[in-house]
């Protein structure tokens, strides 16, 4: 096959003016010609032409990814070095036992890597945080959540969660990913899902958006497989398990900054508001707690949200000024909701 590429073909291609056959020519050149100095020179001229690409979108997020990789790599190297230095010292002191300590080094090495350091992300009340784990699994943590993960993953990737999170798990061949919460383990193979498991709540909820997950109880014996669009709720006080078809987008809307209340009783909605705004809400009348309502908020202030609720339900509310405890530390803002008479 003749493989003559001229400058014009290259230039046209890079500008997006080409036919499929011309694409094949370029492809052929890219695969076969390694030392064509002439073409390489032409490409280099083109390369220099791009030097004032000022109006490109910001690439800073890529830099952060690179930085992250570099730091991870450095940490790994440091750890390797310090173990080595430690054993060298041991060997120097115990020269007769050099052979034994060396074999000890090799035999204990695998367990050294499993007994590794854990990192923890703590989200302050009223905030939401996006995270990226060492295996490229990403997601969001909601207000007050806590995520523990190892510095380095083994083939069984495992993290621990308290609170609410949305996971986008990176699929890896022969490597499963488990999210442990207080009362269950969620085993996944590359998928997107929302978990809500707050320590002070009886119910743990998992909503699957894509893929497949397997949910196993830690103390109670249940083992369920979840399909996209399904929600599983486990109440560990009543030891009851519920499976329901839902719209998964509602449950992950918070990752885009939406607070969605979907036909929920005020009691439950108040818990969401407490976490969302980092406040404490007390509902003074029992009858109000069962009042259901539906709303979606974005960027509204606490006051605006309460005003909206007061418009659609017979309530009055009061936001108290923040008090101090005996140590002079500011307490959470208090909201009191009462039945309107």
């Amino acid at each position: 096959m003749e493989n003559k590429i001229n400058y014009k073909t290259l230039l046209d291609f890079s500008k997006g003016k080409y036919s499929y056959n011309e694409y094949l020519d370029i492809k052929h050149w890219f695969t076969n010609v390694r030392n064509d100095i002439e073409v390489e020179e032409q490409l280099f001229n083109q390369w220099q032409g791009f030097s004032d690409s000022a109006n490109t979108k910001s690439l800073h997020s890529i830099f952060e990814k690179i930085q992250y990789n570099i730091l991870l790599e450095e940490k790994k190297n440091e750890k390797g070095k310090s173990i080595w230095q430690y054993y060298r010292q041991v060997a120097a002191i115990l020269i007769p036992l050099i052979a034994i300590s060396a074999s000890l080094y090799f035999f204990t090495k695998p367990s050294q890597t499993t007994a590794q350091a854990w990192l923890e992300i703590n989200v302050p009340e009223g905030a939401r945080i996006e995270f990226l784990l060492p295996d490229s699994t990403s997601g969001w943590l909601n207000s007050g959540a806590k995520l523990k993960y190892p510095v380095e993953f083994t083939s069984h990737r495992k993290v621990e969660l308290m609170g609410e999170a949305f996971f986008n798990v990176k699929h890896r061949e022969h490597s499963d990913f488990t999210v442990g919460v207080k009362d269950m383990n969620i085993k996944v193979l590359g998928t997107k899902f929302n978990v809500s498991a707050y320590a002070n709540e009886a119910v743990t909820e998992i909503v699957l958006k894509e893929g497949k997950v397997e949910v196993k109880g830690k103390t109670a014996t249940f083992n369920q497989v979840l399909h996209p669009g399904e929600k599983i709720s486990y109440n560990h006080e009543k030891n009851s398990l519920d499976k329901l078809a839902v719209d998964p987008n509602i449950y992950s809307a918070w990752t885009s900054g939406y607070l969605v209340i979907d036909n929920e009783p005020l009691e439950q909605a108040a818990k969401k508001l407490e976490r969302w705004y980092g406040v404490e809400i007390s509902i003074q009348d029992e009858s109000l707690k069962k009042f259901r309502f539906k709303a979606t908020f974005k960027e509204e202030s606490l006051d605006e949200v309460l005003r909206f609720i007061a418009m659609t339900t017979p309530i009055t509310y009061k936001i108290e000024t923040r008090g101090q405890d005996s140590n002079g530390i500011l307490k959470k803002k208090q909201v009191i909701i009462k039945l309107k008479r």
Partner: protein, 184 residues
């Protein structure tokens, strides 16, 4: 460059700021995919960092960067060729004019149009279509993954192809506008 050799993170950031956009644009112009171009930027700069101790301060950094970049781009170009083949098949199947199809110089415009049309498809259909035609999954795999019957999968594929055909036919009729817009 000397600071970078010593492992200075700040110097590295400055070099990134200065050359990353050039690298991104150049990669994009050959790979035609922002995702791939971003991967190139990441890969090339990690290489530069890892090889910082071997940096020669007397030769041009531009040509050093270019050499690394070109190698990465070649590799990605090959990786993307399967995807391009698949896209070519879709375009060819949905195009009315088959005889001179491979010589039409508006190929990139058609690729862009394909991308846009896929985005316009209803959510489920788009998902099925991509799994079948781009990820090359079988009817059975898709039906299991999405929990729908193979009949439904087939239906979505047929409808998606019909949609693409009719849209490309429309463009054929308005051909002149289409050509002038993208080629002119």
């Amino acid at each position: 460059m000397k600071e970078l050799k010593k492992g200075d993170h700040f110097a590295f950031e400055k070099i990134f700021e200065r050359y990353s956009k050039q690298l991104f644009q150049f990669s994009l112009s050959y790979l035609k995919s922002e995702e791939a171009a971003e991967d190139i930027v990441q890969e090339v700069f990690i290489k530069i960092w890892n090889n910082r101790k071997e940096l020669k301060t007397d030769t041009s950094f531009q040509s050093y960067l270019f050499t690394i970049a070109l190698n990465s781009i070649r590799k990605y170009f090959n990786q993307l060729s399967r995807l391009n083949e698949l896209k070519h098949d879709i375009l060819f199947d949905s195009s009315g004019l088959k005889s001179d199809f491979d010589d039409r110089s508006d190929y990139q415009a058609m690729l862009d149009k394909l991308e846009e049309l896929i985005k316009q498809m209803p959510e489920k259909r788009k998902e099925v279509f991509i799994k079948k035609k781009i990820e090359e999954k079988s009817l059975k795999e898709i039906s299991e993954e999405l929990n729908i019957s193979t009949k439904t999968v087939e239906y979505h594929i047929t409808e998606a192809m019909r949609f693409l055909k009719s849209e490309f036919d429309k463009l054929q009729i308005q051909g002149l506008i289409f050509f002038h817009l993208f080629i002119g």
